[in-house]
């Protein structure tokens, strides 16, 4: 059973990567298990400045999923590099994926340039689901043009592989992915959360202080499979698939849809052992579906 996969020259022992924002900087999970069993892991979304994020409540329950409106709480890129990365090094010996958010193209580039200097960081994942303050607040990721610009700006300042993380809140995700590839992206990550909302019926107002939040968890899995497939058909660069993955079977499904690696998000919050359980179950499920080498199945079910 060979579970190795390769992302832009970086070979991972297995395709399982905890998703940004659901794994902090790994510390809380290191209390439960040895993080080195993971393929890699994604750091919390990082911005130039420290951010508190949105007021509480930030979390709401949904059928087979959850809403979050954390709002990119993070200590800012300098603190992440100076304080968090050295701590991460103590609990995880493989390269990590830095996740970068920004509200302007400059901010993306500036944060990327700083992470470029960190040996520990293997891949930059650029989250373009944030509202673009310079273009009326629509997310960078819903518009191919701004997706192109962010990609280009980040590629200029780093030699690390750049993976653009796309928002599913768009009518044509393949176009956005293609724009990123055209601008030089080394890979595509998808999907981020779907915009959702719940109400507090008693108080007759939105449950989340931020009004809307991002939907993730198994509920979004069929959408993730579809989008991974669409993007896989549109681009040649590798894809990190995610969205509702909760078991080894889901990993196989996203990979057959075109993902080279798979991030696991909300499942970590529900069950801190979600990733180790998936990694443990993988060989058995591979056997069940007669898969010798995991990298063989990438996109096998959606060839046109």
């Amino acid at each position: 059973m060979d579970t190795k996969i390769t992302l832009s020259g970086l070979t991972l022992d297995n395709p399982i990567i905890p998703a940004s924002g659901t794994f902090g900087f790994g510390r809380e999970f290191a209390a439960f298990y040895d993080l080195d069993i993971l393929g890699s892991f994604c750091l919390k979304g990082t911005t130039r400045e420290p951010r508190y994020g949105n007021p509480l409540p930030r979390i709401a329950e949904c059928p087979s999923g959850m809403l979050n409106a954390v709002g990119l709480q993070n200590p800012g890129v300098d603190a992440v590099i100076e304080q968090e990365l050295p701590e991460v090094a103590k609990i995880f010996r493989k390269p990590v994926i830095a996740n970068i958010s920004g509200f302007s193209i400059d901010e993306y580039a500036e944060v990327a340039a700083k992470f470029d200097a960190c040996a520990q960081v293997g891949i930059l994942e650029i989250n373009i689901s944030c509202p673009n303050v310079h273009a009326g607040g629509m997310a960078f990721g819903t518009d191919p043009k701004s997706a192109f610009e962010v990609t280009q700006a980040v590629k200029k300042v780093t030699r690390k592989p750049v993976y653009m993380k796309l928002s599913p809140n768009t009518a044509d995700i393949a176009r956005v992915a293609k724009a990123c590839e055209d601008a030089g992206a080394d890979g595509i990550s998808l999907i981020n959360t779907l915009l959702g909302m719940r109400l507090d019926l008693r108080k007759r107002r939105p449950l989340l202080a931020n009004v809307t939040g991002g939907l993730s968890g198994p509920a979004v899995f069929p959408i993730a499979v579809r989008m991974v497939c669409q993007v896989a058909r549109a681009v040649r660069v590798p894809i990190i698939g995610m969205g509702g993955v909760s078991c080894a079977r889901d990993v196989i499904e996203l990979m057959m849809a075109g993902a080279t690696a798979v991030e696991v998000g909300a499942a970590n919050l529900r069950d801190p052992y979600a990733c180790p359980k998936i990694i443990e179950a993988l060989p058995g499920v591979m056997r069940e579906y007669q898969i010798e080498k995991l990298s063989d199945i990438i996109g096998c079910a959606v060839k046109e």
Binding site: E28, A31, Y52, G53, R58, E61, M66, Q73, N268, R270
Partner: protein, 241 residues
């Protein structure tokens, strides 16, 4: 250190029309302080449900909860022998400060006060108990606190626990409270000195990973599930809550 434990339901008891007591058995070694909580996975629900530790010893755990939605409704139906997938030993808990503490609980904020009272007693400190209920029909555990030997007073409906404390004028050098936010605020405003307050928040994980529960305080951002739920009254930024 939090731990993942499969507890077995030993008994379920109805305390009031909507409030239940569960006695569970299983590994409790992760629980070290009163005021900590557990987080329970329930069938068909995505997020775990946080409940305060009401009492515990080596191998047993008691919870008390009020039915308010799908999760607690399901929990009210468990049967002896059922198992509950639980993260246990979560949160910071109370510090057991003081020689003459008053413990103030409102509604489902009362359960942690029971373990707290017992912990004080083990230190040979006798706390006084003030409990607030919506109505006499909603009352529970008054006798249980008295059986511990604690002087226990209860307020109902429009009489608030703070009224009770104002009336009784207890001598105290520390206070601990858990209950709805307006109660905590009233308590902090009225009580002398620095006390400990336990807060609630909607939680994505309960063990510090999602920062879904982070609140601003005067001493910086705090995750209610790790740096809380118990916080010092003088660090609360009441405006920011």
């Amino acid at each position: 250190m939090p731990k993942s434990v499969l507890y077995t339901v030993e008994t379920r008891k109805k305390l009031t029309h909507d409030t239940y007591e569960l006695n569970l058995s299983g590994d409790t070694s992760a629980i070290t302080k009163p005021g900590q909580f557990v987080n329970i996975l329930l069938d068909g629900l995505f997020l775990r449900r946080p409940l305060s530790v009401c009492d515990w010893d080596d191998g047993t755990l008691r919870l008390i909860f009020k039915v308010v939605g799908d999760g607690t409704r399901q929990l009210a139906k468990v049967r002896p022998g059922d198992t509950l997938d639980t993260l246990t030993g979560l949160g910071n808990g109370y510090t057991l400060t003081g020689r003459a503490p008053i413990l103030i609980g409102g509604g489902v904020g009362i359960p942690p006060m029971y373990a707290l009272a017992k912990a004080y007693l083990r230190k040979c400190v006798l706390p006084r108990i003030f409990l607030g209920f919506r109505s006499p029909d909603d009352a529970f555990y008054i006798d249980e606190f008295r059986e511990l030997g604690c002087e226990t007073a209860a307020a109902y409906g429009s009489t608030l626990v703070t009224d009770l404390i104002r009336d009784r004028q207890p001598a105290y050098d520390h206070y601990c409270a858990c209950g709805p936010e307006p109660m905590l605020k009233a308590v902090a405003k009225m009580c002398r000195g620095v006390g400990e307050l336990s807060f609630e928040a909607r939680m994505g994980c309960g063990f510090g990973a999602c920062v879904g529960c982070t609140c601003r305080t005067l001493t910086g951002n705090k995750r209610i599930c790790v740096e809380g739920p118990v916080m010092r009254s003088d660090e609360i930024d009441w405006e920011a809550l």
